[in-house]
């Protein structure tokens, strides 16, 4: 088994500060990912140093604005543009802002809709 992981909830206002601290502590940015849970969007920031992960999570609504950390980690622009294009969440201050053209999708913000299936019994239960 691998080591258990912890995710620390933080507020939107702490995102840039936490990213700055992570970089100061020698972490690299591993990824930023979004998950839709009912009407909320969980955004997970993952940093790594010596194979040890530090994970922060913010929870926002679709109309909320979140600050970009691309001023701290230049490479964050790929994740932030992805979150905007797939989920419709507005990220402010991205260093390379594609303004919705990073992904060419047939429908706008395709991941902001959840397909709900009936909760029937698991096949292998």
């Amino acid at each position: 088994m691998m080591e258990p992981q912890q995710i620390t909830p933080i507020s939107v206002g702490d995102v840039v500060t936490k990213a700055e601290q992570a970089k100061k502590d020698g972490n690299r940015l591993v990824q930023i990912g979004c998950t839709k849970i009912e009407d909320n969007f969980e955004i997970l920031y993952v940093f790594d140093k010596d194979y040890k992960l530090t994970n922060y999570r913010i929870t926002v609504k679709q109309n909320d604005e979140i600050p970009s950390i691309s001023g701290v980690y230049f490479g964050a622009f790929v994740y932030e543009n992805e979150i905007h294009d797939l989920y419709g969440i507005h990220v402010t201050g991205i260093n390379i802002d594609f303004k919705g053209t990073f992904y060419k999708t047939a429908i706008k913000h395709p991941f902001s809709v959840t397909i709900v299936k009936e909760d029937d019994a698991c096949q292998n239960k």
């Binding site: 990824q31 490479g75 990073f102 397909i115």
Partner: protein, 359 residues
């Protein structure tokens, strides 16, 4: 200051089998800025977790990529197994490790061939792919698939490898090792290749680390990140050292991949000696309830499968961060300041897999 012009590179280009677009801002022949664009063929595979049970979804995960298919499947099931607290049989761990290293071998040989072709060395391209056939034959013989292996499942693997076949595989790899050495010698010592690669597309150690480079792109710049060191599957019981180069140029990234092939052969040989007898899978009941960031070392570097379940048959979220996706920002830095003529070689030097990035 010279007048700046912007020229498009891709999405259709002779060195790009997949669509990646770069807007290259030039002053004379020098690249001064780069704007990358992907997203031409984004498939939205992650969304299918809402339609496929978590046990079936492994077939989708394997189809994220046609080169590192097995490792995508393996990372996905490792994440599920971690959430469900499953300790799968040790033999299955070793088998996953063997197939992972075969995947690395065939991926690196594929890349070496493409890289040689991008420099006009078509005979080296042909020889790389000829040797790759040997690897693909073994993958097909043991898994049933040359491209999509389909052997990983939640709770173990679907196929076993007989001890006689394992011996035959190791002998086969030893048999082609001298040919691999001859091929590697061309990449490492041929003066034309050195002239084409040395000092081109330099990525500093700090840039590699903080821009998020992974795999040979990071290790070519002295950043010794290799997720196999975390000991997932059977790697914790195998002795190996990551291959690291320090010059950060195209030659260093090429050297890492060339040398890693011999590490892979050594790991497979160790696995064949140490693999225990026993079952290769276990019964799995229930559904994952929790979340986990599963990580593994693909041929192109660290891959992440974030999995979140709520105890139901369909996962809440499956998100994949592929190595190529995180190697795009370093690519932008690599290209700044280079000559226009070097752009194709530099782009290929990160081994871009747009199929993965457009999961």
């Amino acid at each position: 200051m010279s007048k700046q012009i912007t020229i498009p590179f891709g999405p259709q280009h002779p060195v790009l089998p997949e669509p990646l677009h770069l807007d290259l801002v030039l002053e004379d022949e020098k690249v001064v800025d780069v704007i990358p664009t992907i997203g031409y063929v984004h498939r939205g595979l992650e969304k299918l977790v809402e339609k496929r049970e978590y046990t079936e979804y492994v077939f989708i995960a394997e189809r994220i990529c046609g080169i590192c298919s097995h490792i995508h499947g393996q990372t996905y099931v490792q994440g599920i197994e971690q959430i469900m607290g499953l300790e799968i049989p040790e033999r299955a761990q070793y088998l996953r490790t063997i197939w992972s290293e075969y995947s690395r071998l065939h991926s690196h040989l594929l890349w070496l061939g493409l890289f040689a072709d991008s420099m006009g060395f078509e005979s080296v391209f042909m020889n790389s792919w000829r040797l790759r056939e040997h690897i693909l034959d073994d993958l097909e013989a043991t898994t049933g698939g040359r491209v999509i292996q389909g052997v990983c499942k939640v709770g173990g693997v679907r196929r076993d490898i007989a001890p006689e076949k394992l011996d035959e595989m190791v002998k086969g790899l030893k048999g082609i090792e001298h040919e691999l050495q001859a091929l590697t010698n061309v990449f490492l010592h041929d003066s034309s290749i050195q002239h084409r690669l040395k000092g081109i597309g330099v990525l500093s150690n700090d840039d590699a680390y903080y821009l998020g480079a992974v795999g040979p792109t990071a290790r070519g710049s002295g950043v010794a990140i290799d997720l196999r060191e975390t000991g997932y599957a059977a790697y914790g019981k195998i002795n190996f050292k990551p291959v690291v180069e320090y010059d950060g140029d195209c030659y260093a990234r090429c050297a890492v991949r060339a040398k890693e092939m011999f590490t892979s052969i050594d790991i497979i040989e160790q696995c064949a000696k140490k693999i225990p007898d026993g079952p290769v899978d276990m019964k799995v009941t229930g559904a994952p309830d929790g979340e986990f960031l599963a990580r593994a070392e693909q041929p192109r570097g660290e891959v992440i499968h974030y999995i979140k379940g709520n105890g139901k048959k369909n996962l809440v979220r499956h998100r994949v961060r592929t190595p190529t996706f995180t190697n795009i920002p370093p690519l932008v830095t690599l290209l700044k300041g280079c000559d226009l003529a070097d752009v194709p070689v530099i782009v290929l030097s990160i081994d871009p897999c747009i199929g993965c990035a457009e999961r």
